[in-house]
Symmetry: C2
Subunit: 212 residues, 2 copies
DNA sequence: CGCACACCTGTCCTTGTGGATAGGTGTTGT
DNA sequence: ACAACACCTATCCACAAGGACAGGTGTGCG
């Protein structure tokens, strides 16, 4: 892992200005060498066999084979190559998909100007680097979904929690000091507001959305 | 975010040899300055007010105030200070706890020798850095819990999934080409195996454990 | 005041569920 | 061959839930 020669890097991106910017940045670094460039997944997979890079800077969205599939194939054939994702924007789906397929880091292009070289070195050393926005996303999986209340009123939320505890209508009624009729009324509203057909579905939806 | 002066760093650790090692490493770096050292949480909280560091290298396990509480307090009073956790070992609980309290990165001490300077620079630039072991842990949250099947047989798992879709016993029976009686039999077994009282509770438990 | 809305209650009737009980068939491993 | 286990089926009955009405009360707002 210690550097004998320079860190060999391949850049994969289908935008010329990214190539120019990265070249300029990395050419100033003695310990990092940009050994190849590709503009889609097919090219980089082929280049890996040929150039044996240490680190790949990979875009996600590209014509032909995209970054996800390219990452998967490279990870399979060359497990030692570090793959650092350069994404144009915060794309929830691609973050998880790229990392699940073996990417070692995920930084937003907006941040690369600052110091891409350090990021490459850190990744090369076996650490994972994420732009803070990306790290936040990883640390709070589905924080948005947890806020889903489906427009349920306070009382309705109390009722669905008791439903989830397995109480039947009578038990809920006693617990809340209301009549069985009222409980049924609330449940009917809950089911309707949640857009489901039965109380069972409402419970599952609520559970999946952290409402319970 | 661009460096006018050097990156000002405080080290917090209760082991002298870590202090020595970090000092040695960082003294070689022109752009990083070790401006203070502390050996517990109380000291670093006080030092932060006084020294206004850019980055804190924080141990987790310390006498007196531990790293978690120190991180929380510093994050609250000085939101701009980056906190990089240096952990002696992979401690599942502390990873999540430290990050939840605002740590910006989490690296294992075994890896710092390689290049702590790059890690500090990368963190300073607003990215999150994690040792790969730690990143793996973040990417697979509660893999164990998802394996919870409560000893349900294949058929029982099919049944509970249909229950969760809101199907009643008759519909489940039709869907699985079995009788209503059999469905009731399976549900009774499911409820019993899951250690709950009602089908509603079984559904919630299943939903919470990713069984559905 | 009048409206909206959360909240509460009742009745009637059909259908579904819970629980107990008592079996049968087919596969797998000792 | 026998046991263990998954899987399937049936019957009986009390009770719960669902759906459709048709209301009443209290609070906040324009």
């Amino acid at each position: 892992m210690s550097q004998d020669g320079p860190i060999r890097v391949i850049l994969v991106d289908d935008h010329k200005h990214i190539h120019d910017a990265v070249s300029t940045l990395l050419n100033q670094q003695a310990d990092i060498q940009l050994v190849g460039q590709a503009s889609n997944g097919f090219e980089v997979v082929r280049l890996c066999d040929e150039l044996k890079p240490d680190v790949i800077l990979m875009d996600v969205v590209m014509p032909g084979m995209n970054g996800v599939e390219a990452t998967r194939q490279i990870r399979e054939k060359h497990p030692h190559i570090k793959i650092l994702v350069l994404s144009s924007f915060q794309d929830d789906a691609s973050v998880h998909e790229m990392l699940a397929n073996g990417a070692n880091g995920y930084v937003l292009k907006g941040a690369i100007a600052l110091d891409l070289a350090d990021t490459i070195r850190t990744t090369y050393q076996g650490k994972s680097v994420f732009s803070n926005e990306v790290a936040q996303m990883l640390l709070r999986p589905n924080r948005d979904e947890q806020q889903q209340t489906f427009g349920l009123t306070d009382r309705e939320q109390e009722v669905i929690k008791l439903m989830a505890d397995g109480l039947n209508n009578n038990e809920i009624a006693h617990r809340l000091f209301i009549s069985r009729s009222t409980v049924k009324f609330h449940i009917a509203n809950i089911v309707q507001k949640m857009g489901v057909e039965t109380r069972a579905e409402a419970i599952v939806l609520a559970a999946k959305n952290g409402l319970i």
